[in-house]
């Protein structure tokens, strides 16, 4: 790879995606299909100091391909990206997003706004999803330093970007997670309540959707839980997440496998 110099009229500017696509580093419009495992349920909930995200750890093909996949990654200090859909494209998508935000920052000596990041991803998703059956659907959540709030963006299959002010879910376990969220969401959730609701919603998805991995007490593998706040992207320790799911599991055991009248 030589020195990527461009003349002013065809310079890709600070966009890594456009450079990578133009120079053939990234194959943005691969056609055809192949078997690749799928990543499933991710939940994001807005609360009074930021956003909580919860994701299961399972990648599913015809069988369980992996039990410890990370579906949420920090795109930069204040932004998290979560993926559902084809694992292969999802991982590439996260890498592209991380690199693009950092590339922009280095090229221009300033960070993209959170809305700028959300919009930047739209055409990348559109290009992928309209050219191949290897669909990938992400969620973007972040702390917006210029407005001092946590914000949440979801995408449709064609790349449409929608800001959500309550919660969002992606993946095959969504219907179950969404039901729990619809019952339990309040606009004044604090951190603890948001984490609890997120965990409950994921538990529901893991309980009902065969492609979503719930808490795995045998291997001590638990869903990923993160918060994105003024302090940035923070991942909860495995032990803390484990304790949370163990207590949900105990309550469910007591009430015969169902919530037992209240969301708990």
């Amino acid at each position: 790879m030589g020195l990527p110099l461009f003349s002013a009229h065809n310079d890709p500017g600070p966009s890594f995606f456009h450079y990578a696509e133009g120079s053939g580093l990234a194959n943005a419009s691969a056609h055809g299909s192949a078997e690749s495992p799928h990543a499933t349920t991710v939940i994001a909930v807005r609360y009074n100091a930021g956003v909580v995200m919860v994701a299961d750890r399972q990648a599913t093909g015809f069988y369980i391909a992996s039990r410890d996949v990370r579906k949420i990654e920090a795109a930069d200090r204040f932004t998290a990206i979560a993926i559902s859909g084809t694992a292969a494209r999802g991982i590439e998508f996260i890498k592209m997003a991380q690199l693009s935000f950092e590339h922009y920052e280095k090229m221009t000596d300033s960070s993209l706004s959170l809305e700028g990041k959300a919009n930047y991803l739209s055409p990348i998703i559109q290009r992928n999803n309209l050219s191949t059956p290897l669909i990938v659907l992400p969620l973007l959540a972040g702390w917006d330093p210029s407005h001092q709030i946590g914000r949440l963006f979801e995408y449709d299959g064609a790349g449409g970007c929608y800001e959500r002010f309550d919660f969002a879910t992606i993946g095959s376990g969504s219907p179950f997670a969404e039901s729990a969220l619809r019952l339990g969401f309040r606009s004044d959730l604090d951190r603890e309540a948001a984490l609890e609701l997120g965990a409950l919603a994921l538990y529901e998805a893991g309980d009902n959707d065969p492609a979503t991995g719930g808490p795995d007490f045998v291997r001590d593998l638990f869903p990923m839980m993160v918060t994105i706040t003024e302090a940035g992207f923070q991942e909860l320790a495995g032990a803390e997440v484990g304790a949370r799911f163990r207590s949900i599991n105990d309550r469910r055991t007591q009430s015969g496998g169902v919530a037992g009248g209240t969301l708990r």
Binding site: M1, G2, L3, P4, L5, F6, D11, P12, F16, Y19, A20, S23, L25, A26, K95, L99, E102, H103, K106, M107, D109
Partner: protein, 225 residues
């Protein structure tokens, strides 16, 4: 009918070198120096937004002197090259020496084949790691590349500044002393450079993947006090 006059290759090279040197001498100089735990880049730059120093990659920084539009394009190409290489292979495969070589080839090509030589000098600094040493690569306008052991001075007044800095930096110091010495060397005995006219960046391990840090006026004043 057009008349072509014979110009000897020696004369041609001399003219081009003179042209490039004159262009570079119009701008202010910069100093790059290795300090006990990092690399310091300090440039005299009255503009607060048209930078001479930039982050390139996790452990690589760029500095340019001379014509802004020319070295800024090289800076952008360097960031693209580094991000592209890291994307294709792995982050640890991005090497400052390879980038400095590309700069040297490009500047060399422009010097001999271009319409005019580029009026720039480039520095590529690398903070050492398990895999690579801490290095300063200096690339001159005609493509000469040199690997500087402890510090490098770029710009029109490089010789004088180099002598002043070498006299004060016989051993490797902590950041505070190195910055003071670098600023004194840039200023000379008769001058005092205001903090606002200094652009300072460092490469230093702070527990993060990215090691580049741009120091603001307050941080620079604090270090110089």
């Amino acid at each position: 009918m057009t008349n072509y006059f014979y110009v000897s290759p020696e004369q041609l090279i001399k003219d081009r070198a003179e042209f490039a040197q004159k262009g570079i001498a119009r701008g202010r100089s910069m100093v790059a120096a290795i300090y006990d735990i990092g690399v310091l880049l300090v440039a005299e730059n009255p503009s607060a937004s048209l930078n001479k120093i930039s982050e390139v990659y996790d452990r690589i920084a760029f500095a340019g002197v001379g014509k802004y539009n020319e070295f800024d394009r090289l800076r952008e190409a360097g960031i693209r090259w580094a991000d592209g290489t890291g994307f294709t292979y792995s982050r640890e495969d991005v090497d400052a020496r390879a980038l400095a070589n590309y700069y040297a080839q490009h500047l060399g090509d422009m010097f001999t084949e271009g319409q005019k030589p580029l009026e720039v000098e480039i520095l590529v600094a690398q903070l050492g790691s398990k895999f690579r040493p801490t290095k300063l690569y200096r690339v001159a306008y005609e493509g000469t590349i040199s690997d500087e052991a402890r510090f490098a001075v770029l710009g029109g007044d490089a010789e004088t500044i180099r002598e002043r800095f070498a006299a004060s930096e016989e051993v490797i110091h902590p950041l505070k002393e190195t910055l003071k010495n670098a600023v004194n060397a840039l200023a000379g005995p008769e001058r005092n450079i205001p903090t606002a006219d200094l652009e300072v960046g460092i490469l230093e391990d702070r527990g993060n993947r990215r090691t580049f840090l741009r120091l603001d006026d307050a941080q620079v004043s604090e270090l110089l006090s």
